[in-house]
Symmetry: C2
Subunit: 317 residues, 2 copies
DNA sequence: TTATTATTTGTAAGTACTTACATAAATACT
DNA sequence: AGTATTTATGTAAGTACTTACAAATAATAA
């Protein structure tokens, strides 16, 4: 049984390549058939030059949807076979202006005839099938230009992960995970400070007994994310100790933790949430922004060396 | 305006390649998304090995529709990344039997999850379009396996050429063309003999006045083919001087000339057509066969050195 | 058993593109 | 006018395959 039938559209790319390769080699056969000393890959460039002489490399590239590098190489090949002549641009000396040579012009009618035959054969071929490949390609290119495969897959996965992530309340048994996840990311970018260790080693004393909360996220049977609320005063809490394991990053787990923390803070009667971070941590900042946090103008001094930005979220209503 | 819209399906190959390239690069993005240290091109091989361990290189290649060389390279890569282990076959020492390594086995569940997500996203993508790309590829592969693009184009062109070829009756003005075309092919394979020159220089005396006929084929304003009937006796004619210019070969012009000659011979009252050729000339022999000629068992001596095969066609009815 | 042929694999080089980088000419900015 | 930036191009190297070739082992014929 064919591998592709089993795996299905997940291997769409591989399958497309296979068809592309057969099409390309069969196209080469067609040129042999007409005894034309011509390679299929020259076609788009040659055709453009024949129809509109005086265009330059970048211009041609844009028209046929390839890179200038590809066109440059093809033009070099065509020139080597005396099918085109290349001149410097008159007004702009950087440009390589391409035109058909005598030999190229002589070849053009035969190539046009051949193209007409190929076109007719291909159209008959397409008419033979129930699902039109040409139109299908067009639609697929459009669909992918609107939203890439990556973001489509990501959307699907995020949806699935959201269902599979469990938010846990902190128990003393979670202390090692709580410490591990935080130390992990701090060491990746900075060094662990004394203030960190106090809170990470004794969360009960330094966070919970002072009126704070700790949230954990479990995914695939493992604790992969943490987040804490530190009580500042009756209506202000600090969002801190936000950490997500690198293997689980990009799954929207930080966002879920953040949202849960905000809900929790509201329940505790908070009117304002505050946090400190570092401008180096781009993904974290964009997460905080997505949660509604905005940069504060005048900041208090921070106990952490690594912090150079402060943000807050006002919980009105 | 897009080049492909203008040129149309003639550039199907180029366009397929463009889509293949975007699909491939977007697939690579998906692997990044999952933090999998994995390249898209490994997928078919890895998947096969995971599902059915103990298969060898050639076996895998056949299953996924690629060459053994491609599989060999991918396996080498996978082994370098410790994702598979390769062992010599037990019974057959030539075989490279592939199985997942521990690291590969650990990766497999994540890859399966990812594949499921991609599959779902792709299926949604395909459902979005009116013309289903997956099915279109399938149909196109089938259509091309039944008849290649080359032979489809050839069939179309032959039809067109048949309309454009004109068969002319010989006039003395044609003698130079008649000689040129024959000398051209004889010199390509053999050397011109005295017997040739007599008939080619004085066709009137050696062919027509002895009751024979000469036919010429004109295509694109030029004489590109010749063929002659030499009278042997009242009911027997020899088909000779069959020549088609190399630039016009493969267009079915020889077949048209042959058919016209047979019709002519019938009109002259022939019951039997005879010809001499050489077994080196494969295309010519297949043409004669297609016209109905069959090899004769006992042959008369030929005046030409180059002839080592004789064929005949009996014109009953 | 030995010689020949076929099978299995690996390696090198080619294909039709791409991205990344380098260089020269043109344009914009002080 | 002189410098910085942008634009146009060419070249090199990479990609995911292919074909072509070479070498080793297995199967078959003599």
């Amino acid at each position: 049984m064919d591998f592709f039938d089993e795996v299905g559209p997940a291997a769409l790319g591989s399958r497309l390549r296979r068809l592309t390769d057969t099409m390309t080699s069969q196209a080469a056969e067609v040129y042999d058939l007409y005894h034309l000393p011509f390679e299929p890959r020259w076609f788009p460039v040659f055709c453009t030059v024949a129809q509109e002489p005086g265009r330059h490399v970048g211009d041609i590239a844009e028209r046929i949807g390839q890179t200038h590098a590809a066109v440059s190489q093809v033009v070099k090949d065509l020139a080597k076979h005396d099918l085109v002549v290349v001149q410097r641009g008159e007004a702009d000396q950087r440009r390589s202006v391409v035109a058909l040579s005598e030999k190229g012009a002589a070849l053009w009618p035969a190539l046009q005839q051949q193209t007409a035959d190929v076109r007719q054969a291909t159209e008959a071929l397409l008419a033979e099938t129930r699902h039109n490949l040409w139109l299908a390609i067009e639609e697929m290119e459009y669909a992918l230009s609107r939203q890439s495969l990556g973001s489509r897959v990501k959307a699907l996965r995020d949806e699935r992960v959201t269902d599979e992530v469990r938010l846990l309340d902190y128990t003393p048994a979670h202390q090692p995970d709580f410490k591990r996840l935080n130390v992990e990311w701090i060491e990746r970018y900075f060094r662990v400070e004394a203030a960190d260790l106090k809170a990470l080693d004794y969360p009960d004393e330094y966070i919970l007994q002072r009126g704070g909360r700790i949230l954990l996220a479990e995914y695939g049977g493992q604790v992969v994310g943490t987040c804490a609320l530190l009580k500042m005063d009756d209506t202000s809490y600090e969002l801190a100790k936000m950490a997500v394991s690198p293997t689980a990053q990009g799954l929207g787990i930080g966002f879920q933790l953040g949202q849960a923390a905000i809900t929790q803070a509201r329940a505790l009667g908070a009117r304002r949430l505050y946090l400190e971070s570092n401008t180096k941590l781009k993904p974290a900042l964009s997460l905080y922004h997505k949660l509604g946090f905005r940069k504060t103008v005048a900041g208090q001094p921070s106990p952490y060396e690594r912090c150079n930005i402060q943000m807050e979220l006002l919980l009105t209503s």
